[in-house]
Each structure stands twice: as C-alpha cells, then as structure tokens.
C-alpha cells in the first residue's frame, strides 16, 4: 500500500453516516474510494454539487459535471446542483460537517498553510480559506515530510490559510490531534515506531502512554 492510499484509508474512518463532506483536490479526493457507498454520505464539490459520485465510464462524461479540480464526475441519486453563492453559504455557514484538505505545513498551534509558496508557486487559495474558516471539522491529509523535511513544524513559515486550529492531521506516519496545549500523537502508521515519528517531526509532540497503530478502512 502506498502512502497516499494509507492516508486515504485512515481519513475514510473519520467519515460517518449522514455527513456532508468536502474533499479537496489531489490526495483528499482519493478518500471517497474508501467510504462505503451505502453509508449515506454526501460529498460536496465547491464548484456546485452536493452528491458527487465516482468518475463516469469512458464515453459517458457530461461536460457540465465536474469536480473542483475540473475532472469529470457523476452525481448520485438525490444530488443537488447549486451555484457558488449557495456552495459557500454551506461552507461558511457551518453546514459542512467535514473538510479534508492537503497541506504544505501545519504548525504546533494547529494552523495550516496550503495556498502559496512566495516567489515559487502562487496557485491562489481557491476555496481553502473558506473551508478552513467555516467547516465544522477540518482534517489535513498530507505526507509527513516533503523532500526529507518535516511538514509538521513549530511555526508555519509559509502564508497561513486561516488562524483556526485544524482538528486532525493524518499522514503516512501518524495521526496527530492539535489541541490547546500543542500537538498530540494519537496513532502511528502500521510498523512505524513512536521514535520514528518523533525523528521525522520538527514540531514538539505530546506522546501519551498508549499510541496504537492506525486502523484503516
């Protein structure tokens, strides 16, 4: 199992029956693959659909039905199409139960940076700032390190996405819960030791007596 699949399978376990969930583009969008179809979850894409379905079979794409990354999708029975004002009314207004986003850095305060690398990459924030400010639960799904450097840092150097503490960080090495007093290591990936997680993380981590291995969907 590669890192992305591992992360997606762990994040999928956070999703409960009846939730309205927004998955970011890239890695977070893979989470849907591991959520049982009969769970009664509605996926929202911020470009304007509640009830996002799987990729259509080749030849059955509808050019007016895409996800926020512009890829072709389907709509499940009972789906609703909405305009951008309604879409962000749901996000900002506290109607969205969970968002799963990628990250460039998360720091000891639980603050996320994921929209800009000054001088190098200026993609823009898209819907990320609204999602982090407005969703009831924010889950960051990302690789623990990039080119050997920890992405979980004492203090974000990159521009922040919001000053709201995210609720959970899921990486290929660990599950970490930001709280008032800092970051808590609550689970480790199968076969990964606590020492390995600590060695790969530059932010300080609180480690309890019992840090079980992740259970995967």
């Amino acid at each position: 199992m590669d890192a992305k699949e591992l992360i997606s399978r762990r994040v999928a376990r956070e999703i409960r029956s009846g939730m309205l969930v927004n998955l970011g583009i890239g890695l977070p969008s893979m989470v849907a693959n591991y959520v049982p179809a009969n769970l009664g979850v509605f996926f929202q894409a911020e470009n304007g659909i509640i009830g996002l379905g799987a990729r259509p079979p080749e030849g059955m794409e509808d050019e007016d039905l895409t996800d926020a990354g512009g890829g072709f999708v389907t709509a499940v029975p009972g789906a609703a199409s909405i305009d951008s004002a309604m879409s962000f009314a749901l996000i900002r207004g506290g109607h969205l139960d969970m968002t799963v986003l990628g990250g460039l850095e998360v720091d000891a305060r639980g603050y996320l940076a994921n929209w800009k690398v000054p001088g190098k990459m200026v993609p823009g924030m898209g819907g990320a700032m609204d999602l982090v400010a407005g969703a009831r639960r924010v889950v960051v799904a990302m690789q623990h390190a990039a080119r050997g450097a920890s992405k979980i840092v004492p203090l974000c150097k990159l521009p922040l996405t919001a000053t709201r503490r995210v609720d959970l960080i899921v990486t290929d090495l660990a599950v970490i819960r930001p709280e008032e007093d800092g970051l808590h290591l609550i689970e480790r990936a199968p076969g990964v030791s606590i020492a390995e997680v600590l060695a790969a993380t530059t932010a300080p981590l609180h480690v309890g007596d019992n840090v079980p291995e992740m259970e995967l969907a």
Binding site: G48, G69, S84, F88, D130, G134, T163
Partner: protein
Amino acid sequence: MKRALKADAAAELVTDGATVLIGGFMGVGSPHRMIDALVARGVRRLTIVANDTARPGVGIGKLVTAGAVARLITSHIGLNPETQAKLISGEIAVELVPQGTLIERIRAGGVGLGGVLTATGLGTEVEDGKQVIEVDGRRFLLEHPIRGDFALIAARQADYNGNLEYSLTAHNFNPVMALAADTVIAEAEHIVPVGVIPPDAVKTPGVLVDHLLERAPQGAH
C-alpha cells in the same frame, strides 16, 4: 423580447479597458463563443473578474494567452502556469480573493449591499490593509462590493425574454454575475420560445439580461 446578437457583434460592445465579469469554473459554464470572439477582435487591457483562468487554451485562459488581460481578480490560478508567469513578470496585476468572498463581493455589488463581513481570511495575508469590524463579539473582515461594466455568462437554455436555466456544475458564478454588471450578455446552448422554460426552472430572470448570443451554428459547439 430580446434580439440575439452574433458573437462578433457582441464582442464589439465590450470596450478595451472594461471590467468584465466572466462565469465559469475551470472552463465549465464559461461563455466559450463569446471568449473566442473577444480574442478574435483583439480586445485589450481588460480587468477580468472570474473564479479562475482555467488552463492555457481553455476558456478564460485564451484571453490570458492573447494578452487581453491587464488586471485579474480571481481565487485560483494554480492550473494555469501562463497566468502565474504573467503575474510574476508583472504583465498582469492579480488580486487573489478567497472563493467564497469573491462570490459574495460580486453578489453585494449586484444586490445593493455596501459590502460583506466575513471571517474568511482573518489573520492571513488577505487581512492586510482591510478594516476589521466586530459584531456581537466576533471579528470580521470588511470586503468591498465588486461590479463590472459587463458580465459574460453562460447558461444551458434561454428564452427570448432572457430567462435562463443552468446545468449541473455549470451554474457556478453565472447566476450571481448576472446581477452585478451594467451590461449582461448571456450565451446559451439552446434558445427556446418564450413559455418553454417553466417559471420554477428560471434561475436568472430575463429582466437582468441585456443581450443574448445567437445559437451556435449547427454542428459547432
């Protein structure tokens, strides 16, 4: 009743230097024939307000490639490296706005409101230079309304009163932009006789639409 314009005649209406709201999300729900006609007429120095600039060669990306854009107010340019390069070289002045704030600023411009109070962007670069207003103990950024000289929008179906019906994720910014410009030009896939679109299906009432674009020629898209 509205007379449908040919795309080149509609493009003549859009003056160089104008502020133009353009519907679409990664090219889905963008007025593609209108964009092609603007590129063909060689329009210059536009201020474009749009969710994104799609990809090079797609939708609004064609206006970027053609050098028609001086200023851009948008939420995302990550999938168009040409826009990013023109931002870095200084050819296009880009204001990045959170997507939910962008749609509400346009809505405010269209519905007679003096601005939007939102918590999105607090404590980030987006806050720089903006007024923070406290309401019932909660802090919000004051975001100003946006209006355009023109709104170029796309719909699935129009009637000759200008009533519009949209399709799936091709709604996006279009219904809101129809409120927020001095001149609204709508490009629909189909134009049907008045009465064919049921009142409950109308998402943009025709009173907001100034011009329709002629149907696409047979066989073209």
